[in-house]
């Protein structure tokens, strides 16, 4: 309801406001406006902007009437102005002054309908709505406001709409000619609600550029602009966007945005926002919605959802999606699976299986007669160079001999089976090496180093290479020494 309020609410000329002020169906807002001179023609049905007045309890009517009468009857010079019809600004100012007094007396009255409104409207104004009563009790701000006629108008009109907006207008120093400001197309000057604060910031930044050429900007704009830019360029900064300090001359736009925000709730799709905003505004903001952001400078798209949260969310999701693709390539058999949940399940299973494999292999290793494991570390280290240098040679020879091994390799069926399996072909050469190694004892460094050599180098090879080497070893006589020597030569 409040949205509708704002939707239709252009800043009316003061006379209209004066008329609106005295809606008989009482509400707290009515308190503000009903205090107008009853001589003023009672306007016919309130506009939608004042619908919420109707919603309030009628019981307040009597109280307001009494207040009204008290006001009217109070002999003040301003009352004479009421009937004058001109200088509505003065009227309003006086009203506000009176409001202060009345607020003291009937603050509770204001409170109750406020809350009633709040409950009924169920808008984001809930919080700010509850604050006006205390505000109204303060006379100081009101008197201060009365100094500025234009501001007084607005304050009077919207003082109950939200404390934030109130404050916003406090700081803004709105010029009297509201119409100009409205037409200057400061679209993205969002004032009040928290829901729109984040809306304000990206919109502000995106539209600020066209706004600046529009001129006629309140003095606060440049500062706000820079701040907005900073916040947007930070992208995902959670910093509070401009407080309601930013004046919102175009309450219609505000209303639209508020409506949008309320309809869609907290998070909404950026595209929808952009479309709707465009449809609603359709003014100077000629910038199309921002294209997909680059990653360095995350620009806020026009009509960006509530806050930088969704911006950050989107970038984050893209990052995660990217990495999921990476993982998909790693994990075998994940191409068919789509969707994050299933993918993650697959990944988890794979990691678990790998870890189980490690455990199983370590068990096997521990049970191995690992006297051979007493490697000479220095030898190992010194072999590094050899390994790397000879690796290339081995690969070539391995590839060359691959065909040979495939054809000639009939001798040992066991080797056959081993060849097919992964790295199983090491069995026979290893076996042949074992006795030799054991025979020599462990002091024989060459054998040991040879052993480690072969192991390390075997592990470098692909299956084909190993096959070839094994084939070579088998093709020659299964002479242990010669075998190892041959292997060494190969290597």
């Amino acid at each position: 309801m409040d949205n509708e309020l704002f939707m239709n609410t252009e800043l009316p000329p003061p006379s209209e406001m004066a008329m609106h002020f005295e809606q008989p169906s009482s509400s707290s807002a009515m308190l503000n406006w009903a205090l107008m001179d009853p001589n003023l023609a009672r306007n016919s049905p309130p506009q939608d902007c004042f619908m919420w007045e109707k919603s309030t309890e009628q019981q307040q009517q009597s109280i307001f009437d009494s207040a009204l009468s008290s006001l009217v009857s109070s002999p003040t010079p301003s009352n004479s102005n009421f009937s004058g019809g001109g200088g509505d600004g003065f009227i309003i100012r006086e009203l506000i002054g009176k409001l202060g007094n009345i607020g003291n007396t009937s603050g509770d009255i204001c409170g109750a309908p406020m809350n009633g409104n709040v409950s009924r409207s169920a808008s984001c104004y809930a919080t700010p709505m509850s604050s006006p009563p205390p505000m109204m009790n303060r006379t100081a701000p009101l008197t201060e406001f009365s100094g500025d006629p234009g501001f007084a108008e607005r304050a009077a009109k919207f003082s109950c709409f939200g404390s934030r907006s109130f404050n916003g207008r406090t700081n803004s120093g709105i010029p009297v000619n509201n119409g100009e400001i409205v037409n200057s197309g400061k679209l993205t000057r969002v004032s009040s609600t928290p829901a729109l604060k984040a809306l304000a910031s990206p919109e502000f930044a995106s539209a600020s550029r066209p706004m600046i050429p529009a001129g006629d900007s309140p003095p606060k704009l440049p500062g706000e602009f820079s701040r907005k830019r900073k916040s947007v360029s930070k992208g995902k900064s959670k910093e509070n966007p401009l407080p309601a300090a930013s004046p919102s001359p175009s309450f219609s736009k505000t209303a639209e945005r508020k409506e949008v925000s309320e309809e869609k709730g907290g998070k909404r799709r950026r595209e929808d926002e952009g479309d709707e905003e465009e449809g609603n505004k359709g003014t100077n903001d000629t910038k199309p919605p921002e294209p997909p952001k680059d990653y360095i400078h995350v620009r806020a798209r026009r009509g960006q959802a509530t806050d930088s949260h969704s911006l950050a969310e989107r970038v984050r999701r893209e990052k995660i999606g990217e990495r999921m693709k990476l993982l998909q390539d790693l994990v075998p058999g994940c191409n068919k699976v789509t969707g994050k949940a299933l993918m993650l399940d697959e990944i988890i299973n794979y990691v678990q299986s790998l870890q189980r494999q490690v455990e199983f292999l370590s068990m096997k290793l521990s049970s191995v007669n690992d006297t051979r494991l007493e490697f000479n570390v220095d030898a190992l280290v010194s072999k590094d160079a050899m390994i790397s240098s000879s690796g290339s040679r081995v690969h070539e020879s391995g590839l060359r001999l691959e065909s040979l091994s495939h054809h000639n390799y009939n001798n040992n069926s066991q080797l056959h089976t081993n060849v097919s399996s992964n790295n199983m072909m090491l069995h026979s050469p290893m076996k042949s090496l074992e006795p030799s190694a054991l025979a020599r004892g462990f002091t024989h460094l060459p054998t040991l180093t040879q052993f480690t050599d072969t192991i390390s180098q075997y592990q470098m090879f692909s299956e084909e290479d190993l096959q070839s080497i094994v084939g070579m070893g088998v093709a020659h006589n299964p002479n242990h020494e010669s075998q190892s020597q041959n292997m060494k030569i190969e290597l």
Partner: protein, 156 residues
């Protein structure tokens, strides 16, 4: 603030590096007196397993990877050794904490992943994915190395 989309680096060294480290650790294990004798195989298995992980962490990531650091730190803690890592350029873990990096929707699976990958608890989800990718690669490499070794040394 959002960094440029630089390619994610998940390179792992060759098998021989892994093999080297693992064999070194195994030989170190062998030198321990308590290793050979006992009949309690569980101890040995655990030690070998730990050696495998530690050597993998050293071979693959060193201190450049979060998971390897976490692994090494965990292992050192078990040995009551204090491990000091050189200071990284960015405080990776602390910076990310405040950012909104977790999403309740995907968090359940991510939680399981965090339990699996060492050091997963301190990472954001996107970083977790990166580390998982590297971890998977290293794990598979280590498995291959160990398989080779087992096959090579298996008594007939």
């Amino acid at each position: 603030m959002a960094s440029a989309d630089k390619p994610i680096n998940t390179d792992v060294p060759e098998k021989d590096v892994f093999a080297l480290h693992f064999l070194q650790s195994l030989s170190n294990l062998r030198r321990q007196n308590t290793f050979n004798s006992p009949e309690k195989t569980n101890d040995r298995v655990k030690k070998i397993k730990k050696a495998a992980y530690v050597s993998m962490a050293r071979a693959a990531g060193g201190t450049n990877r979060l998971w390897s650091r976490a692994l090494l730190r965990r292992a050192a803690k078990e040995n009551n050794k204090i491990v000091r890592f050189p200071r990284r350029k960015k405080r990776v873990t602390c910076l990310r904490r405040r950012s909104n990096r977790r999403d309740p929707v995907e968090e359940e699976e991510a939680e399981r992943l965090r339990n699996l990958v060492p050091g997963g608890g301190g990472m954001g989800t996107s970083k977790l994915m990166e580390e998982t990718a590297h971890y998977i690669k290293c794990l598979s490499m280590q498995v291959k190395v160990m398989q080779c070794l087992v096959d090579g040394l298996a008594p007939k």
